[in-house]
């Protein structure tokens, strides 16, 4: 049998998913999962080496083929998807040990991998939608594995992402109408008029998957309700990779737009708003996982902003930030999971001084936290600098400022988190904790290592993984220079470093005001006059358009119930039954059992018949 190698990343996870169902012992399942993810990772690695391949099989007809295409960029995405999967699975062998539904968990994980690989490789929009939609279902099932409340969050994610997917579908249909083709790599349009609407619809699908505002609401809820491995696996890494991958594909290949075109402004605005609002929410969180989840939203803003600039530097920075973010955010979620595993909670109030007892976790957290804050020389610094530069080049300074504001509060909130959890005084509220075993630590160490490597030697990931995205765009490549990230002394870099200093100052002040309690460090900002009201509204989910939408629909259904349903019901309940009863009563009274009555009806009937027949015959003749 001759199976094309391109099918391996899709078929292998499926095989592992199905076979895993037949395993009995928990240990065996864990080994099986690690083996499976390693196999798929190897397969992705081989494909990454091949770089160019394609496969077209007839599928549904009408231009809808089972069309897979591998090129530099999606080979890199494919590789990273599977690296994260492998690390998360390795981590899960310890973290999910207590779960009673481990079999289901791995089934969904492998199905997710299958769908993710499929949507990365797909070169036909219908096939792509097929895989993309599958992700929605596995995400729902994975969140359902969490605590008792998780079904609500799962539903929320399903509806929000379902909405995004619906927009995506509409966009694809529109695109099909405009271009007449469904082959992704064959479409190339200027984003104007109808094509712009199609682009915006597909963009909603992409950034919704990545978790940008206003489609982010499920992520903070899921941080509490869903297993932490699911958070590290999907919202932190895979969904960012996929969402930004799609955004890159449509912004670079499928559609074209110029710098500062309307599309570009829309993207940058969405990005800037996402950065600022999400980071402000993140700042005041008192739960580690929830804080991380808001950052997962905020960082998407940087990527969208970067790609939206339309400048070479911005685009490369956005894509690079996607990769970096996936690395350090997964690392951060894994470290939060490690803390949860050891201490049993992730509430900052209860934790403190864990550095001594959990040095590896603490160290990895520190590296990742410095990365996300954009401290030199970690990877976050490089990609953020590129985005700052790119947005500055557009001439709209406001977006750059938004990005800087984001940087301040990002660092401030991580100072707060690190200070209250790992440093500072030892907490008395939790028992003595111990460092976790190696399957938990290894993924974090690897990820932290990547953070440092990609920061110090940033040219390596850029050349290997990011630049292939720009293949076919020589004009962009020609303009790119990577000298800026080594020279720390340009004004933009200096301003960003100034931001970090401001953040440090804010934190210092906050801790002082909170009488040394680090988890209260953000309270001064929280309690600012106008901002406090906004925060209160946000905490009460006034801005959560899902909750508001649910309220609106409930109201609407009530209105319809009272204005439409009840009156109709009244007609049935009262008018119809009462008239029916009256008719039946009359008929019953007529049937009183008197022979004479009955006879007279029959005779009257006969006469009427004779008369009617006579008239009818007269009419006819």
């Amino acid at each position: 049998m001759n199976i094309d190698i391109l099918l391996f990343p899709i078929l292998l996870p499926l095989i592992f998913a199905v076979m895993g169902l037949f395993l009995k012992s928990k240990k065996l399942i864990n080994y099986w999962a690690v083996l499976g993810s390693a196999a798929v990772l190897y397969c992705a690695y081989v494909l990454f080496g091949i770089k160019q391949a394609s496969l077209v099989l007839p599928w549904l007809g009408h231009g809808i083929d089972f069309d897979l295409k591998l090129y530099g960029f999606n080979a890199a995405i494919l590789l990273w998807v599977n690296i994260f999967t492998f690390l998360v699975v390795l981590y899960s062998t310890i973290k999910m040990e207590t779960s009673t539904r481990i079999k289901e968990y791995y089934l969904y994980v492998f199905l997710t991998v299958m769908f993710a690989n499929g949507s990365v490789l797909a070169d036909n929009f219908v096939l792509f939608l097929f895989f993309w939609g599958g992700l929605l279902i596995t995400l729902y099932m994975l969140i359902m594995l969490g605590n008792l409340n998780s079904y609500k969050t799962a539903l929320k994610s399903l509806i929000l992402l379902g909405l995004c997917d619906f927009c995506l579908l509409l966009g694809v249909v529109l695109l099909w109408k405009i271009s007449g083709s469904l082959k992704i790599s064959a479409i190339s349009l200027e984003a104007q008029g109808l094509a712009m609407i199609s682009f915006l619809l597909i963009m909603i699908g992409a950034i919704g998957k990545a978790g940008a505002m206003p489609f982010h609401n499920w992520i903070p809820d899921a941080a509490i309700d869903a297993p932490v491995t699911v958070m590290a696996f999907l919202p932190a890494s895979l969904e960012k990779l996929l969402g930004i991958y799609l955004l890159t594909r449509i912004s670079l290949d499928v559609f074209h737009f110029q710098m500062n075109s309307p599309v570009s402004i829309v993207l940058m605005t969405v990005g800037a708003i996402t950065i600022v609002f999400a980071v402000m929410m993140a700042l005041i969180q008192k739960d580690f996982k929830r804080l991380l989840s808001y950052h997962a939203v905020s960082q998407v803003g940087y990527m969208i902003l970067g790609i939206g600039t339309g400048t070479p530097l911005g685009i490369v920075g956005g894509i690079f930030h996607m990769l970096n973010h996936a690395i350090y955010k997964t690392g951060l979620f894994l470290s939060s999971g490690s803390v949860e595993l050891a201490a049993g909670t992730t509430e900052m109030k209860k934790l403190g001084g864990l550095m001594k007892s959990m040095p590896v976790t603490g160290l990895c957290f520190s590296v990742c936290a410095l990365s996300i804050s954009g401290v030199w020389p970690f990877n976050g610094f490089v990609s953020k600098e590129m985005i700052f530069h790119g947005s500055y080049e557009t001439g709209y300074l406001i977006f750059t400022i938004a990005a800087w504001v984001g940087a301040i509060f990002t660092f401030a909130s991580f100072l707060k988190a690190g200070h209250s959890i790992f440093f500072g005084a030892k907490s008395t509220e939790i028992p003595e904790v111990k460092e976790n075993s190696w399957p938990v630590l290894v993924p974090m160490i690897i990820l932290s290592a990547f953070c440092i490597l990609f920061g110090v030697y940033s040219i390596l990931p850029l050349k290997l993984f990011i630049l292939p995205a720009l293949s076919g765009h020589p004009e962009v490549l020609a303009e790119l220079t990577f000298t800026h990230n080594l020279s720390l002394l340009n004004p933009i870099a200096l301003i960003s470093m100034g931001c970090l200093v401001i953040a440090f100052g804010l934190h210092y002040l906050g801790v002082k005001k909170g009488q040394g309690k680090a988890y209260l460090a953000s309270e001064p900002v929280h309690n600012l006059p106008i901002i406090k009201t906004i925060y209160n509204l946000a905490e009460n989910r006034v801005f959560d358009f899902y909750e508001q939408g649910v309220k609106l629909i409930k109201l609407l259904s009530k209105v319809i119930y009272y204005t439409v349903d009840r009156p109709i019901d009244f007609v049935y309940e009262r008018v119809v039954t009462v008239t029916g009863r009256i008719v039946i009563f009359i008929l019953r009274v007529l049937h009183n059992g008197r022979f004479a009555n009955y006879l007279s009806w029959s005779l009257a009937g006969l006469m009427a018949l004779g008369y009617v027949m006579g008239t009818l015959i007269k009419k006819a003749g």
């Binding site: 008719v583 009563f585 009555n597 029959s602 006969l606 009617v612 006579g614 003749g621």
Partner: protein
């Protein structure tokens, strides 16, 4: 030997009271059911002949000397014979246990009345002359008056008397109609009348035929309980032994009423728009009035009687459309109704046998005690209401499609709405008799005896099987019969 259909039940009916002196129960049970089974099997003998469209006209001889009686066996009469034999077999098997009740005196006489009814009905559908029809009509009718009064209770006698009186009025009008036809054409043979009428175009004759039509519609309409000639039916049924309404509503109203009407109008007089219109309206009124009246009833058999009136309305409407599809729907519904309505009446007999009452008020929660009765009753109820995939659904569907095809949209709508009402009152029966809280009085109630259950199961199975295999059944039995009606005036 077409005559066997009439002679065999007649002879056994005569012999049974004599044989009853020898064996009071076993022999009558066996003989009567053997006759029904034989008739059923014998009707298959002609099935291929009839489905090929052949008509058998057989002159009756007495020892080689021809008598002035011809019998006519075509696909339409064969379908009737088949239905009669099938339903009467079901009723006969049911009677094996049912007539053992104390209030019913003599089993041999009961069976001979049943056989007489069957002989009468077979005679009606086989007769080729109007007078023969009249004679057999009276044979069947008088036997059924006796059956209606068989328990000799006060209300049974009253119901039977009403039945008798109204029927007498009907038959006298029928006789009047027949004599007018005879005066007009000089013959009572169906093909004779048909050929004479076909050549007379005078307007006076049209009027006279119109009057005869009115008389026949009234007379046979009363026999088939079309509103407003329906009033005998509920009274006659409410107290009679359950087997009488099963026979009467299941087949007699069709053989003695509807069959003769359609035979006369489509095959002898030739259908006119006037008759079609009248029948259509009568049918729709029957559907509505019957369904509404059924809703308000408390006595199970009375309710079923009104339901029969409503269902007969469907058949009348189906025939009145006059299109091939309408004929198929109406004939199929005729057969189906024979099966499920007799099953419903037999179920009420089972209930009465077990509890001694048919009043819905006094029943309740019997499903646990009588699973077979409850199960078969659900099947029959759903079939009557026209719930897929049971046989009643298809026949009603065909009628309604035929109505829509012929552009009678309002009537189609009424037909659908009435079937909703039908479902409604059958659900009421289910709730009040079989489900809900078990009435404490019936906690020792037992399932119906073997033969009663067997007969119910047999009929319910036919409902289910026909619901699935209806295309086969329509091709073999219904379509040839419909073709006889489509072919028009006989020669």
């Amino acid at each position: 030997m077409v005559i066997l259909f009439i002679i065999l039940p007649l002879i056994i009916a005569g012999l049974l009271p004599l044989l009853g002196k020898v064996s009071k129960k076993v022999l009558p049970d066996f003989l009567a059911n053997a006759v029904f089974a034989l008739l059923l099997g014998y009707s298959f003998n002609f099935a291929w002949n009839a489905s090929a469209g052949k008509t058998i006209l057989s002159q009756v001889n007495l020892a080689g000397i021809p008598l002035g009686i011809t019998l006519r066996l075509d696909a339409l009469s064969l379908l009737m014979l088949f239905t009669i034999a099938l339903v009467s077999l079901g009723v006969g098997i049911f009677s094996v246990n049912y007539i053992n009740q104390e209030k019913y005196s003599s089993k041999p006489i009961y069976y001979s009345l049943l056989l007489l009814t069957v002989a009468g009905m077979n005679g009606i559908v086989l007769s080729n002359d109007l007078f023969g029809i009249y004679v057999f009509l009276e044979i069947a009718a008088i036997a059924s008056y006796a059956l209606a009064a068989y328990g000799l209770g006060k209300e049974e006698l009253e119901g039977s008397f009403k039945y008798l009186m109204l029927s007498v009025v009907a038959t006298s009008f029928i006789l009047l109609g027949i004599s007018m036809i005879f005066a007009l054409t000089g013959t009572v043979e169906l093909n004779g009348i048909a050929s004479v009428l076909a050549y007379s175009k005078a307007i006076k004759i049209k009027y006279l035929i119109g009057i005869c039509s009115a008389l026949f519609i009234m007379g046979f309409g009363l026999k088939s309980a079309i509103v407003p000639f329906h009033s005998w039916m509920p009274d006659a049924y409410s107290k009679a032994p359950a087997t009488l309404p099963a026979m009467s509503s299941g087949i007699m109203v069709k053989a003695a009423g509807l069959y003769v009407l359609i035979r006369l109008f489509y095959n002898v007089f030739g259908i006119t728009p006037a008759v079609q219109t009248v029948l259509m309206y009568l049918g729709v009124i029957s559907i509505v009035v019957g369904a509404l009246l059924a809703l308000g009833q408390n006595n199970l058999q009375r309710l079923l009687a009104y339901s029969s009136i409503s269902q007969i309305g469907y058949m009348v409407v189906g025939f009145a459309i006059g299109t091939p599809l309408g004929f198929i729907g109406a004939l199929f519904h005729m057969f189906n109704h024979g099966i499920f309505k007799s099953l419903l009446f037999l179920n009420s007999g089972s209930i009465e046998n077990a509890t001694g009452t048919r009043e819905l008020d006094e029943l309740g929660g019997l499903a646990k005690k009588m699973p077979v009765t409850a199960g078969t009753n659900i099947v029959a109820s759903l079939a009557t209401a026209g719930v897929p995939p049971l046989n009643g659904f298809w026949s009603k569907l065909i009628i309604i499609i035929a109505l829509v095809q012929a552009k009678f949209y309002i009537f189609a709508l009424i037909g659908i709405l009435a079937s909703v009402v039908t479902l409604w009152y059958f659900l009421i029966i289910q709730r009040r008799a079989f489900f809900g809280k078990l009435n404490e009085t019936w906690k020792d109630v037992k399932e119906a005896p073997f033969w009663m259950s067997l007969s119910s199961i047999m009929l319910a199975l036919i409902c289910i099987i026909l619901g699935i295999a209806f295309p086969w059944f329509i091709r073999l039995w219904i379509e040839p019969a419909a073709n006889v009606l489509v072919a028009g005036i006989i020669r």
